[in-house]
C-alpha cells in the first residue's frame, strides 16, 4: 500500500466522522439552523465519496462504468464545495439576521 493510499483511506475515515458529527449537530438544532447543517451532512458524505474515488484511482482502477475515476473524484469535490458554500451562506444569513435583531 502506497503512502497516498494510506493517507486517503485515513481521509475517508475523517470525512465520514465529520459527516457523523454534523448529523449529531443536525439532531440538536431546529429551524433555519437545521437547514444549514443539512447541507453540511450531505457535503461531508460527498467528500468521503471523493476520497474513496481517489483511493480507487491510486489503486490503478482508472475508470468506473466508463467514467474516469479522476473525473468522478473532481466532480464529487465540486459537489462538496457547492454544498459547503451554500451551507456556510445560510449560516451566515442566519447569524446576520440574529445580530441585526439584537442590535435593532
Amino acid at each position: 500500500m502506497s503512502f497516498i493510499v494510506a493517507v486517503e483511506i485515513l481521509n475517508f475515515i475523517l470525512a465520514s466522522l465529520a459527516a457523523l458529527i454534523s448529523l449529531g449537530i443536525l439532531r440538536k438544532v431546529t429551524g433555519n439552523l437545521a437547514a444549514s447543517w443539512r447541507y453540511a451532512v450531505v457535503a461531508f458524505q460527498i467528500l468521503a465519496l471523493a476520497t474513496l474515488f481517489a483511493v480507487i484511482n491510486e489503486l490503478g482502477i482508472l475508470s468506473i462504468a466508463g467514467i474516469s475515476s479522476d473525473l468522478l473524484r473532481n466532480t464529487a469535490h465540486f459537489v462538496f464545495i457547492i454544498l459547503a458554500f451554500f451551507g456556510l451562506l445560510r449560516n451566515y444569513q442566519l447569524i446576520r439576521n440574529l445580530t441585526e435583531r439584537d442590535s435593532g
Binding site: 503512502f3 497516498i4 493517507v7 486517503e8 485515513l10 481521509n11 475523517l14 470525512a15 466522522l17 465529520a18 458529527i21 454534523s22 449529531g24 449537530i25 440538536k28 438544532v29 461531508f44 476520497t51 481517489a54 474516469s68 479522476d70 473525473l71 473532481n74 466532480t75 469535490h77 465540486f78 464545495i81 457547492i82 459547503a84 458554500f85 456556510l88 451562506l89 449560516n91 451566515y92 447569524i95 446576520r96 445580530t99
Partner: protein
Amino acid sequence: MTIVDVLAVIVALGGLVAAFIARKIWLMVEGELAASWRWLLPSVPVYAVSYTVLIMHNFMRKFGAVDPVLNINFEVNILEKRSMFSMQVWEPIILVLRNVQVLVEMLFLVLVIVGLARQYRLFQKLAEKQG
C-alpha cells in the same frame, strides 16, 4: 485543458470564496461559538490550498518532461576493480506534490473535525439548557 482540470480550478476558487464567507461568520459570532469557528475558519483556505496543489500536480504530470530530470553517473575504483554506477531521478516533485496534497487534505479534515466537535458540544449544552 480537460473537464477534469476545469472542475479542479472551479473547486479551488469555490474554496477561496467559501473561506471569505467563513471569515465573515467568524467576525459576527462571540464566545464559545467564535471559538469553534476559529477552527473551522482556517480549514476552508487549507482545502483551497490542497486543491491548488492537486491542480499543479495534474498539470505537471500532463506537461512534465518525459525524460529523467537528473542523470548521475559515477565510477568506483577499488583495488583496480572498476564499477560503473548510474542513477536517474524521474520528476520527484510530482510525487512529492501528491503526498503534500493528501497531507494538506488531512489537515483540513482534522481542523474541520475539531471545529465540528466543539460546535456539537456547544449545541448539546444549549439543548440540555432548553430541555
